[in-house]
Every structure is written in structure tokens, then in C-alpha cells.
Symmetry: C2
Subunit: 212 residues, 2 copies
Amino acid sequence: MISEKTIERLSQYRHFLREFLKENVDHVSSSTLAERCHGQSAQVRRDLMEMGYRGKSTRGYDVEDLLAAIGSYLDRPGGEKVALCGIGNLGRALLTYFQGSLSNLQVVAAFDRDPHKTGRVIHGCRCFDIEMVEKVIAEQGIQVAVIAVPGPDAQRVADRLFAAGIKGLLNFAPTPVRVPPKTYVEHMDMTMALEKVSFFTRQLAPARGAPK
Amino acid sequence: MISEKTIERLSQYRHFLREFLKENVDHVSSSTLAERCHGQSAQVRRDLMEMGYRGKSTRGYDVEDLLAAIGSYLDRPGGEKVALCGIGNLGRALLTYFQGSLSNLQVVAAFDRDPHKTGRVIHGCRCFDIEMVEKVIAEQGIQVAVIAVPGPDAQRVADRLFAAGIKGLLNFAPTPVRVPPKTYVEHMDMTMALEKVSFFTRQLAPARGAPK
DNA sequence: AGGATACTGTGAAAACATTCACAATCATCA
DNA sequence: TGATGATTGTGAATGTTTTCACAGTATCCT
């Protein structure tokens, strides 16, 4: 099985390849791409190998072709429909974020329990009352969801989502959630991330006068 | 040097230890803690070893004592002051998020270029015009910043932050930023995260009728 | 007190990820 | 056409992280 690390990097390569495309670059070498990503060229080549891609040698990779290859490897054919729970500041930010990027991912439904927030369409995404969650997920065959509700509600919402048939979850709530087997969950722990930054910053820039 | 993975897990352990504390549990074994974190007990023990902690054996770790140890290892004594750039939906969400958690991290200043958003105090955090960024960072001796501005502005803002003396950065913009040497940056790439969820979800739950 | 029990701390093994290093390939140009 | 040079694909080496497995140790119970 392919590693998470490799998938992450493929997603990154795609980002930079799109930039190259905009700059009208039509071929990139593994080393050029690696440079942009702060990585090693051998790593790039191996990642592409992992997904079974063979570039034509000597002139580097054809940007468009490689983009297409990564797309057909990473993306769900026909697009991935995503449900979003929580239309607070974070939820709205996520909508802007995801709907902005012309990507395979499409947030097709958002849920909240506050009636003031539902019934509208935000960035092309319909907002429903949370009570509709089972119905909408079933009707649309949605498999992936994002949680952006306050911590205390996260577990309950997650349980409902999985009961409704969701298989993959991206969780922005401050609390990790327990999930059923045979599902995939990614916890975006922003506190952890900031603590990490704080810690490693201190490692490189210790307090004035402190020893190395 | 200690690994990023270990720091991430220590931060997680702390989260669960606080839960145990609330539940009036006063001792936990490495295996109990590991279970909560979906990890291995040996991993927990090794992580604690890495940070030089020695529990008293046979009754597990004293929850309060271990919390204190992790705190004094991870946290900057006196608290880490953090600057936030971008007071849009995401910025406000992050303020709620970080100011809510009773943590060592304190967002002491937020910046935006929209005059409608500045001059206020949100969740105890003063909002300034972006033009004040150098002044405020210097005055307060802030070392860590969070970027929550739109993609196209991210690099420019990052440059200003580092020029102003920031050493560590948590970047929520959709674009990675280039940073000076001797600094630490963490890119929270939400698109990547969601693509990853989409991909691995498909690995475990392929389309109806597809082969395993 | 002494034996049984439950746990830690850690060396060593295994698994996993990255990097090296080089043969193979192919555009390009004299 | 054949030599040149850039670049790939990948086996092997290296480096890192996780897991195993067990000696050592404190507590509890009788």
C-alpha cells in the first residue's frame, strides 16, 4: 500500500505543477520540482514511481501529462462530494477555501443546527438543518465529511455522520473523535500545530542569552 | 534532537491527560494512555523517555505530575505570545479556537488591512492595522505568528513578519510560503488534508462492486 | 516478610522512509 | 550518424521510527 507521506507529496507536487503550467513551463525535471518543494529529486522520482508513472526520460516530465496522471491517481472520478458540518466562522472559512480551489473536491451540503444559518446557499453550497443530515447524505451518496463544530458537539456529530454512511472524515474540532473501524479520519489539530511551532521555534531561537 | 512526531504525540498525551484529570483519574499506565490515543504503550513510554521523564513504576504515571512535566517541556515559560494576520472568517475562527483553550499560547495581537476590522478587541485580542505589524511585534517581543490571509497575500505578509523578527510561523493560506533560514514554518494545508481523506477513504470503501 | 502482580525503561529487532549512486535512455547537435 | 549531456528509474545503503520483549522495580496482599 502507498504511504500517507507519498500521497501528501503528490498533492503538493500537483500544486506546484499547476504553478509551472501558469508560468508556461511545459517540462520539469525531478530536481526542479524537488527544489520548489524543499525536497530531494530522488524522492520526487520515487513518489511518481510509487503511483506507477513513467515519464519520458531526458527532458524531464511533461507538466500537463504529469498533472493528469496525478489527478487520475488521487482524484475520485466524477468528483468527490463532501459534506460540511458547522457553519460558524470556521465552516464559512472552509467553504471559501475549498470552493475557491478549482478542485476535484466539492462541498455539496453544509449543516448546522442554528436555523439562522440554514436554508441559504453559500459559495454554491446548500445549507441544511442538521436534522437533514442522514437524508441528504444518503440521497447524494456522500462519503466524505468535514467537521467544524465546537468541541463538545464533535463526537455526537461524528457518530451521526458515520451512522449515515460517511466513510472518511476531516475533523477540525479541538477534540479527537472515536470512529468506527473501516473508516478513515484525519484530525487537524490546530492547537497541536501551534504548540509544535512554538516548541521548535524555541529550539532554534532560544531566549536571549540562553545557551545553545 | 527530538522528533516532530514525538512532540505531536506529547501534545496529544497532554490533551488526554487533562481529560483523565477531569475524570478524577490520578494514575494512568502507558497502555491506558496509548489506548486513548490509538497508539502503542511502548510508544508512549519511549516518548516520555525522549523528554527525559521518569515515572514511578508499578502504578503508572501520576497524571498531574506528568502533565506538569509535559508542560514544562513543551511550553515557553511565561507563555508564548502569538500574532495573527488576517481577521476574516478563518482568523476569527482561530481566535475562538486558541483563546478558548486554556493554554500556554496567547494570541496578543491580530492584524488586517481592512479598517473595519481593526481597532477592536476580539476574544481579548487587540486588532491592529497591518501597518502596525513591525511596531507591535517589536514592542511585545513576539516570536510566533499565524497567517490566515488569502493565498495571494500570504507571501508578502510572511516576508513582513520575518523582517519584523518573527521566528516561527503557522501558515493557513492555501499557498506554501518561502521563509528565511533559521526559522520554523508549519503549513496547514487543508486542501491536501481533504484530498488525503478522499484518497484513503476510497482505498477502504471503493465504489460499489469494485474489487477489493 | 516474601511472593505475586502490574508496570516501567530500554536494548535490540523490525518496519518504514529517504537518499545515494549509477546504468539505461533519449533528445540534440556537430 | 555517433558522441554528448541531461535526466530518469531503481537496487542498495542509510537513516529514522516503531515495535518487541524482557529485566528490573515498586506496590500490594497474605
